[in-house]
């Protein structure tokens, strides 16, 4: 703070230049982010309270919310557990292929969700490699919850790993070694030392995963078959509502999702700050 104060005294022209940037940034954020939200809110209010009641009462909407919730919770659980495991291996072990593994973890960030969905169809859809195995056992993957969960998890793999690895690398292994010499078992060491150390990074990764799972549509659209009241998530419902000219209820569902995202965003900011403090200790 004192630094910016001295620079502003010394070079007023720099401050003017900077305030212009601030203006542009605010306009950019306002136009691109706030205006759409305002538009959605306006449409919902304009439709009257009847829209909210009718939308919430519709069984397909309720099911869509439930499905999105189930997928989000399960994706968070799976990516948190396996993400921490992968992060611990990447941060602490040195083995041939480690860098390759690290790069592969980032793959979902680079691949379009639609392609992820297509890959799942190729593997589990009709004529896919694994299709005979599951069909023989009467398990449906494609056009059902398993494939929707699978693609969501795939897309969310990097978040927890990418947030936890730097924290683990930063703190090193000395605390873990200290715990072991003090008589802690590997399990005790994990729950008493490692987990509390990475908690904010982990929560940050979880929040990112949850936000992504709530909003995911591309991959889910391909694998779900969008069967109303069955494999239709909240985002897919919005998609259909717009096509069927049910704008108001579509916007209302969108508003609920946006509200959830804002809550997560706040959490993300909080966790990010705590994580930075944790690393600087």
């Amino acid at each position: 703070m004192s630094i910016s104060a001295t620079t502003s005294n010394a070079r007023p022209s720099g401050v003017q230049g900077r305030s212009r940037f601030v203006l542009i940034a605010v306009a950019y954020v306002g136009l691109l982010l706030l205006a759409p939200i305002a538009g959605i809110v306006w449409t919902v209010i304009d439709g009257g309270s009847g829209v909210v009641r009718r939308t919430l009462a519709a069984p397909d909407v309720r099911h869509a919310f439930l499905l999105t919730g189930v997928i989000t919770v399960m994706a968070v659980l799976v990516t948190a557990v396996f993400g921490v495991a992968v992060a611990m291996v990447l941060a602490r072990d040195r083995f041939p292929g480690r860098r390759l593994m690290s790069a592969i973890v980032d793959l979902p960030l680079a691949v379009s969700p639609v392609i992820v969905g297509l890959m799942a169809v190729l593997l589990f859809g009709r004529g896919g490699w694994f299709e005979p195995f599951f069909t023989a056992r009467g398990i449906q993957i494609i056009f059902a919850l398993p494939s929707m969960l699978l693609v969501t998890v795939f897309i969310c793999i990097p978040f927890v790993v990418r947030e936890v690895v730097p924290v683990l690398e930063e703190v090193g292994t000395e605390e873990v070694e200290a715990a072991r010499t003090l008589g802690a078992s590997p399990t005790q060491t994990f729950f008493r030392v490692t987990l509390p150390t990475i908690r904010w990074g982990l929560l940050y990764g979880i929040a990112l995963t949850a936000a992504r799972s709530l909003g995911e549509i591309g991959a889910v659209l391909i694998v779900s078959g969008t069967i109303q009241g069955h494999t239709e998530t909240a985002t897919l419902y919005i998609f259909r509502a717009l096509e069927e000219r049910q704008e108001a209820s579509g916007y209302f569902v969108a508003l609920v999702l946006a509200a959830a995202s804002i809550v997560l965003l706040t959490a993300i900011e909080l966790f990010k700050r705590k994580r930075v403090r944790e690393r600087s200790r």
Binding site: E175, E177, A179, R180, L182, G183, S185, R281
Partner: protein, 359 residues
């Protein structure tokens, strides 16, 4: 049952690099033993193998007569103090010290008692609710020591415990550790690259070099009777003078120094002479030879003289100021070297401690 730590023929490779080679020594029960060596000499690796943090490729480790080699660190229950403290950053001082008791499911009341006792011992009683990042380096290391001692370990392993602290705190903690050890008498193994620390604290010193043991002995033996040129050079400052052996002396130019008994005449040799073993006189004596003063630096109570021998070799002398009054640069004086340690050049052959003792 042998009390203390016994290490036999330890070997350890990291990839193709051999970090530890056939290391054997004993650390006597109830005493402080130092593992002294430069960085990369394998001393920390030896300590980590004793703690179970590294697995030796070969060899065995015994503590108080019990074999430890294949046990996990958890089963060994040895106290370990890390150079960078390794305190649990999300726990208070109290929780840190209690950790070793808590994971063994000790009753809460017992934990509280023991933690209080230890925090008093290390003088940090009022700090029990602080977090590690609210403490100074010296305080953190005292917490780390209390934490290591809390479960009453059979031995205490210290890995460069004062290495990350500044010189003054290091001095203070060294004295404090000495007192603490006198009080508790726990078998301790101290890894350090600081020869002063090793000589001051340890009853026995194991000097390591390039993964192997170079010499084992009391601080006096290590300092006064180094068995290899490396020990002579590493433990305490030394001048190195090159010359040829003739009738029990190392000759260089028209000067000579005693200390080469038992060597064959004509061998190339190096004489190691400590700066405080150089005496300066105005008149020529029996054994002294003429030198030229190149530079004199006053260090308060003593002076450092840089001397040039007649054959061009340089020699550093440290003397109390009253012994070198009136001597300054360009003075011609006579030097007399004592307690020289002689090693022949090139071959593995060198004077053993016993041979030097006869001189």
């Amino acid at each position: 049952m042998t009390q203390g730590i016994v290490v036999e023929d330890l070997d350890k490779h990291f990839g193709s690099f051999q970090a530890v080679k056939e290391v054997s020594f004993k650390a006597e029960g109830g005493k402080i033993t130092a593992l002294l060596g430069p960085s990369g000499s394998g001393k920390s690796t030896v300590l980590r193998m004793i703690a179970g943090l590294e697995r030796p490729d070969a060899g065995s480790i015994w503590v108080d007569g019990e074999e430890q080699t294949s046990k996990s660190p958890q089963e060994r229950r040895l106290g370990f103090v890390f150079q960078h403290y390794a305190l649990f950053r999300h726990m208070t001082v109290h929780q840190n010290v209690a950790f070793g008791l808590a994971v063994r499911k000790a009753p809460k009341s017992e934990q509280r008692g023991r933690v209080g006792e230890l925090l008093d011992l290390v003088g940090l009683g009022p700090f029990s609710d602080r977090y590690p990042d609210q403490l100074s380096g010296g305080q953190r290391q005292r917490v780390a020591l209390a934490r290591a001692l809390a479960p009453r370990p059979k031995v205490l392993l210290l890995d460069e415990p004062f290495g990350a602290l500044d010189a003054r705190v290091r001095q203070e903690l060294r004295r404090w550790l000495d007192d603490l050890h006198r009080e508790l008498g726990v078998t301790s193994l101290l890894v350090t690259h600081d020869q002063e620390e090793a000589l001051e604290l340890a009853g026995e010193v194991v000097v390591m070099r390039q993964g192997g043991v170079e010499q084992i002995g009391s601080p006096e033996e290590i300092y006064n009777k180094p068995s290899t040129p490396f020990v002579a050079a590493f433990v305490g400052a030394s001048n190195v003078l090159r010359g040829t052996i003739w009738e029990g002396h190392v000759h260089f130019g028209r000067s000579a120094v005693a200390g080469a008994h038992g060597f064959d005449d004509g061998l190339e040799a190096q004489a190691y002479v400590r700066p405080h073993d150089v005496r300066i006189t105005r008149q020529a004596g029996d054994m002294s030879f003429e030198v030229m003063v190149e530079r004199r630096t006053n260090l308060g109570w003593m002076s450092k003289l840089v001397l040039r021998l007649q054959d061009g070799q340089m020699l550093v002398a440290e003397l109390p100021n009253e012994e070198v009054e009136g001597i300054r640069a360009d003075s011609r004086v006579f030097a007399d070297l004592r307690n020289a340690k002689v090693f022949t050049v090139g071959g593995a052959e060198f004077a053993s401690g016993e041979e030097l003792a006869k001189v």
